[in-house]
Amino acid sequence: MSAPVIELKNVTVRYGANIALKNASIAIPENSFSGVIGMNGAGKSTVFKAIMGLVTPESGTITVCGDDPKTAQKHGHVAYVPQNELVDWDFPVSVYEVVMMGRIGTQNIFKYASAVDHEAVATALERVNMTAFKNRQIGELSGGQKKRVFVARALAQGADILLLDEPFAGLDAKTERSLIELFISLKDAGKTIIIATHDLLSLPDTCDHVALVKSTIIAYGPTKEVFTRELVEQTFDGILHHVKF
């Protein structure tokens, strides 16, 4: 396995009096597909925010593509794909315009699109099979298409790492399957994919690595080694009858 593309060493994050993450360490290898699981409020989104450089840890170090998170932001190494329910789908922007927003990191302060920007957007739309929908307002799409738009934005950004928050929430099984295929093909093309998910059932077939989060990172590693009954039940404080290990 290649060198870690994301590394957290003894990271502690505090919001006021609450410790969201305590002494968390993880080394995510390049070109992997990791699932991050844990209960609500366990610290999954804090892990994401730490990687994106949106929170400053109280202690510990974070390295993203060899840089600190703030430098990684400038290079656009990490892209974030929000949960569908956190997006304002009535917003008057087209698919094309949203994907173009992936380019703001490289544009000047006026954010006018150059020929290179248009080409990057066109390529990204093609990659996720959304070219035919480029002029649609974003609310006029199905759940899976909505997800693809934001994946295209990440690709247009040129990100090496994609963080996806609950990408399968509210989607039917067939749509989920086709998105997973897309993610796997992106991984095969050299991207590192990290998803926060509640979907424990499909996780073993989807992710090659798993991170278990409960106020810290309890365990991280290849799915076969980490996604065990003992560790997962420890993460969720209970017995999980419906999950096959």
Partner: protein, 283 residues
């Protein structure tokens, strides 16, 4: 010919000329801001700022500085107070806004009752564009033109800021700065508009045109153009109504905007019903 003179004749009076120019630029600036404000969900914040500037206007009058400066200072005070209390209590933001802006507004009323005549109070609360001085007219025109141009030039980054601030921040964009820059521009526009529509009604100018345009289009650039058109037309109707019928300018502008909104809403509701009906009959 008569139609043209209906519009041109009043303009030979300098007070009317100023009123038309000022109402138009107020209409443009408010319309542009309104498109961002309603998408960001900051309508209530606009209302809070517009009320909170009252003591600033009065204090500026007392110490003899341009009242834009006093208003701006209190707008920023309100923004910071709201933010500070929100970050340090469990009280919800709408309640905090309500407390902050009414307290500052009340302070303004106290100061006014002690210092300024009731005629001036009416002007501050409800606007009086026909009585605007040359100096104020040029000041308003200058500052609102500059704000309008700034917002239009930087509209793309403001739009990303409204749509997905986390994305902007994750690419190292100065989101905090953009946040406060936008609030400052909003405060300036409110300050510049109160002479025309007054403190009480300025919030309508900052919500209604954008909302009406939002109903009519799914493209942001079109939304901007529709909002500006509606707003300018309403402003002109307001100014000419004052001249010909001696009706309050601010009241007329806001009433016309409200009527346009309700008409668009009614039209769309009827169209949707018809479409649904055709569908059911068709099936």
């Amino acid at each position: 010919m008569e139609f043209i003179s209906f519009f041109l004749e009043p303009l030979q009076y300098s007070f009317m000329f100023k009123a038309v120019v000022v109402s138009t630029i107020v209409g443009i600036a408010c319309a542009i801001l309104s498109c961002f404000l309603i998408l960001k969900g900051w309508s209530l914040l606009g209302d809070a700022i517009s009320h909170a500037i009252l003591p600033g206007v009065v204090l500026a009058y007392m110490i003899g500085i341009p009242f834009g400066a006093g208003a701006f200072a209190f707008a920023m005070l309100a923004v910071f107070l709201i933010g500070f209390i929100r970050n340090n209590t469990k009280i919800k933001e709408d309640a905090i806004m309500g407390i902050v802006f009414t307290t500052l507004f009340a302070l303004g009323l106290m100061l006014i009752s002690k210092i300024i005549s009731s005629v001036d109070l009416t002007h501050v609360l409800f606007g009086e564009v026909l009585g605007i001085s040359d100096e104020s007219a040029w000041y308003t025109f200058g500052i609102l033109s500059v704000v309008s141009i700034i917002v239009l030039i930087f509209r793309k980054i403001f739009l990303v800021f409204c749509f997905d601030p986390i994305h902007a921040q994750s690419l190292g964009q100065p989101v905090k700065f953009i946040h406060y820059a936008f609030l400052s521009l909003l405060a300036i526009v409110i300050t510049g508009s109160i002479q025309t529509v007054g403190i009480i009604l300025v919030i309508a100018m900052l919500i209604t045109p954008g909302s009406t345009a939002f109903l009519l289009t799914k493209r942001f650039s079109t939304m901007l153009m529709i909002a500006i058109s509606i707003s300018v037309i309403s402003s002109l109707i307001g100014a000419y109504s004052s001249y010909y019928f001696n009706i309050a300018t601010g009241g007329t502008i806001v009433f016309v905007q409200g009527c346009i909104f309700l008409s668009v809403f009614a039209y769309q509701t009827i169209q949707n019903k018809k479409r649904l009906h055709t569908k059911i009959v068709g099936n």
